[in-house]
C-alpha cells in the first residue's frame, strides 16, 4: 500500500499540488484522474521520487520516500515498475533485451534463468513472437505491452502507469487496461495509473482519485463515479457526448422504474 500525506509541491511560487492526501491500495488499480494541467503527472513524479515534494509524506508500506537517501531510494526503486506514456523502450535493444535489462542489472540469476523469466513476461503480455524485434519495428500497442513486460520482470510490488492508453485505439486501450488490471490482481501489486481516459475509469477504476487544480476533489470507485454529485467531477466525466448520453439513458431508466413503482 502507498499512502501520501499532505503533499505540497510548488514551482517558482506557483503551488501545483495543494495538500494532497490519499491511499493507493494493494491488489487494486488506483487511478489518478483529472484534466490536463491539473497536477496528475507532478503527483505521480513525486510518488515515484523523480521529484521531491516541498512538504508531506510518501509512505511505501510505511517507508517514507521523502526521508530516504540515494541508496535507500535506489533499493526501493527495484520494487517499482513503471510504464511510461511513450513506452520508453530502449531503442538500441530488442524487445527481449529490453525485458531482460532490469534482470541483467539487478538479478543474480544465471543468463538462462534471466532469459527464461523475460520470455515468460513476454508470453504473459502475448508478445512471445516479438522478442527479436526492435521497438521501431513494432506497433504502439505492442510497445506498451513490451513496456509492461519490462515493468513486471523483477516482480515489482508497485506498478506506475503514466497515461497507458495515449495514442492507442479504443480496442487496444481496453486490452492494455485489462492486462494491467489482471497483472495487478495476479501479483497483488499496488498499481497507480495516471489517466484522463474515461473508458479506463469505467473499466478498471477500483480506486479513483480526482484532482482539480492541484486539489483532491473526490475519491471513490468506478461504480460511484457516474452517480457522484461532485460538480467538478461531473463536468470532467460528462464532457464527452458519449458519457452524457450514458447518463441521460441511466436517468431515463431510473425515472421509468420510479414511474412503474408509483
Amino acid at each position: 500500500m502507498i499512502t501520501i500525506n499532505n503533499i505540497i509541491k510548488s514551482f517558482e511560487g506557483r503551488t501545483v499540488l495543494k495538500n494532497i492526501s490519499a491511499e493507493f491500495e494493494e491488489g487494486k488499480t488506483n487511478l489518478i484522474i483529472g484534466r490536463s494541467g491539473s497536477g496528475k503527472t507532478v503527483l505521480i513524479k513525486n510518488i515515484i521520487g523523480l521529484m521531491r515534494p516541498d512538504s508531506g509524506e510518501i509512505l511505501y508500506d510505511g517507508r517514507d520516500l521523502t526521508s530516504m537517501n540515494k541508496s535507500e531510494l535506489n533499493m526501493l526503486r527495484r520494487e517499482m515498475g513503471m510504464l511510461f506514456q511513450g513506452s520508453a523502450l530502449f531503442d538500441s535493444m530488442t524487445v527481449l533485451e529490453n525485458v531482460m535489462f532490469p534482470l541483467d542489472m539487478f538479478s543474480k540469476k544465471t543468463y538462462k534463468e534471466r532469459r527464461k523469466r523475460a520470455e515468460f513476461c513476454l508470453e504473459r503480455v502475448n508478445l512471445s513472437d516479438a522478442g527479436d524485434l526492435y521497438p521501431s519495428e513494432i506497433s504502439g500497442g505492442m510497445m506498451k505491452r513490451a513496456a509492461i513486460a519490462r515493468a513486471i520482470a523483477l516482480n515489482p510490488k508497485y506498478l506506475f502507469c503514466d497515461e497507458p492508453n495515449s495514442g492507442l485505439d479504443p480496442k487496444t486501450s481496453l486490452l492494455i487496461d485489462d492486462l494491467i488490471h489482471d497483472i495487478t490482481v495476479e501479483y497483488k501489486m499496488t498499481t497507480v495509473i495516471n489517466t484522463h481516459d474515461m473508458n479506463s475509469v469505467m473499466n478498471i477504476g477500483d480506486n479513483i482519485i480526482f484532482i482539480k487544480e492541484g486539489v483532491k476533489e473526490w475519491q471513490g470507485n468506478k461504480n460511484e463515479v457516474i452517480s457522484s454529485d461532485n460538480k467538478a467531477l461531473n463536468d470532467f466525466i460528462f464532457a464527452s457526448d458519449l458519457f452524457r448520453k450514458v447518463k441521460e439513458v441511466e436517468e431515463e431508466e431510473l425515472k421509468a422504474k420510479e414511474h412503474k413503482t408509483i
Binding site: L76, R77, M80, M82, F90
Partner: protein, 248 residues
Amino acid sequence: MNKALHKLGEYVLLMQKAITIPDRWSMFFKQLLKEIYKLGFDSLWIVIIISIFIGTVIAIQISLNISSPLIPKFTIGYTTREIILLEFSSSIMCLILAGKIGSNIASEIGTMRVTEQIDAMEIMGVNSANFLILPKIVGLMVFIPVLVIFSMFTGILGGIAASYSTGTGMTPASFEYGLQFYFNQFYVWYSIIKSVIYAFIIASIASYYGYNVKGGALEVGKASTDAVVMSSIMILLADVILTDLMLT
C-alpha cells in the same frame, strides 16, 4: 558568466555521477564493446580516407613551396612527418572526430532523455549517467589513440604516394630519408597522450549536452551542435596547454 559557471557545475556533478564503479561489470563491458565498435571502429574509414588525402596534400604543398635550391628535398618528408605526427593526426583528426562522434553521442543521449528512456533507467534504480556515459568515455579513451596511430600511418602513406607523382620535384628516396631524419619517438607519445585527453573531452562534453536536453527534437539538434562547438573549442584550448606543458 553566471550561466557558464552554472553549466560548469552541472558538468562536474554529471561527471561525478558518471565516473563511479559500475553497478554490473558484465553490463559495463558489454556496453564498452558496443561503444568501441559504434563510435570508434565505425570511424576508422573516415580517419583513413582523410589522413591519406591530407598526407598527400601536405607533401605536395610543401614541395611546391620549397623552391630554394639551398633547402634539401628530404625536408619535404621531414616536414610532412612532423606536421602529421605533431598536429594533424591528433588535434585536427580529433576536431573532425568531435564533429562525427560528438554529435552522435549528444543526439543519442538527448533522444533518450526526451523519450523518457533515461527516466525509465532511473526508475529502475540504474545510475543512468554511469551506464550511458562511462562506457563512451572509456571506449573513446581506448580507441581514439588507435585511430590516431592509423591516421599517422595512413597520412605518411599519402605523403609517400605524393612523392611518386611527377612534377613536385621530390623523389621517393628523398622523401623516405626525410621521414627518418632526426626522428623523435616522443612526438608519437605526445600525440597519443593528447588524443587520450581529447577523447575524454569529446565524450564527456557531448554526453553532458545530450544528458541535459530539455524539450523535444529541436532541442536535441541544438544540443548536438552545441556539443560539437564546445568540444572543438575545448580541444583547441587543451592543445595549447598540452603543447606548452609537453614540448617547451
